[in-house]
Symmetry: C2
Subunit: 200 residues, 2 copies
């Protein structure tokens, strides 16, 4: 991904928290010479060494993962930014937060390993439910999916949050987004400015 210096994020803890909060990613690879992507939730290791997920066995993407580099992308809140919001002149743009992981992927068919992935995914999302569902995956259910284990070789993180604008303009952008209901992106812009101020 093209990342101008002022939009680049390298802090491992920050990237980990972002991916955990926006874990429904795009798994991109090549299938029979053509680009192919699936939309699935991922689990990410704390040290950003590995991410895991799974595909339906009928999804052909898992069949041709050997000997290729895959790309997994995660997108956070995003929105159109109008230059009419700025104090000083500007052009229209789009603010967003994105993380890209490059890596090599292994397809997992072994029952115990598969169980680990689906149990952890289930625990992650059920723990926020008022009455968490108890996972009871049978062997025949697990035969319908294929696990994915991706060893991460390169991390790219871009927070495009008006860091190239004055603090006054960023505040105006944040207020406009908040008023239009995009609280998450508004919060991200404010958080970015606070971090930058404290680092000066």
């Amino acid at each position: 991904m093209y990342i101008p210096k002022h939009f680049e994020v390298t802090d491992v803890e920050e990237i980990c928290a972002f991916v955990a909060a926006h874990a429904f990613g795009q798994f991109i690879s090549s299938v029979q010479g053509r680009l192919f992507t699936s939309h699935i939730p991922f689990l990410v290791d704390d040290d950003l060494s590995r991410i895991c997920g799974h595909l339906a066995r009928q999804n052909p993407q898992w069949e041709s993962l050997e000997d290729q580099e895959v790309l997994v992308t995660f997108l956070g809140p995003h929105d159109y930014i109008s230059p009419s919001w700025y104090q000083s002149p500007g052009v229209p743009t789009w603010n967003y937060q994105a993380v890209h992981f490059y890596g090599h992927c292994k397809a997992i068919h072994e029952t115990e390993q598969l169980k680990q992935i689906v149990n952890l995914l289930t625990h992650t999302y059920e723990s926020t439910q008022s009455e968490p569902w108890q996972a009871t995956y049978t062997e025949s259910m697990l035969k319908n999916i294929v696990g994915l284990e991706i060893q991460i070789t390169e991390i790219q993180c871009k927070y495009k949050l008006s860091q190239n604008r004055s603090m006054a303009d960023r505040e105006r952008v944040s207020v406009q987004l908040r008023n239009s209901g995009n609280i998450e992106l508004s919060d991200a812009i404010e958080r970015g400015s606070v971090i930058e101020r404290s680092a000066v």
Copy 2:
């Protein structure tokens, strides 16, 4: 994208409206043999023959578009679906709406064509602002971007909205999502069920 029959959408008007409403897409291609994606807003023609956008000139992705098939993906609302919400047994899943376009992309450097793209993008997003910004793109500004014109050769649209569940389960899923604040996905599920009922 892997699309089981019950999740497939083929209606051109529906797909067009979906992409217009979720136009911030992912532009996926290969750069020097590696997968590469950029996050940008797109304009889509009504007949789904063509989509247009632009990249920063410093983004290397436009330099190697010749002789390759590109993929553009659009994602709508999405969320975790807990089996505890169902009346009948089930497993965890994720609901989402996604459109994938395959095609061939031409990089645009000519001033008038570039102006058309940025003017139309600006008009699209400024028209909803209370005080629309008036586009005044100079030639030197346009030198900082490169236009993209993609002739679409294949369309894939997947609405994964619990269509494989009973109407009672879909209603329960829709209510849960609405209560948790994911109104857009809840609406999409309800709309899907209404269309299906009227088609019976």
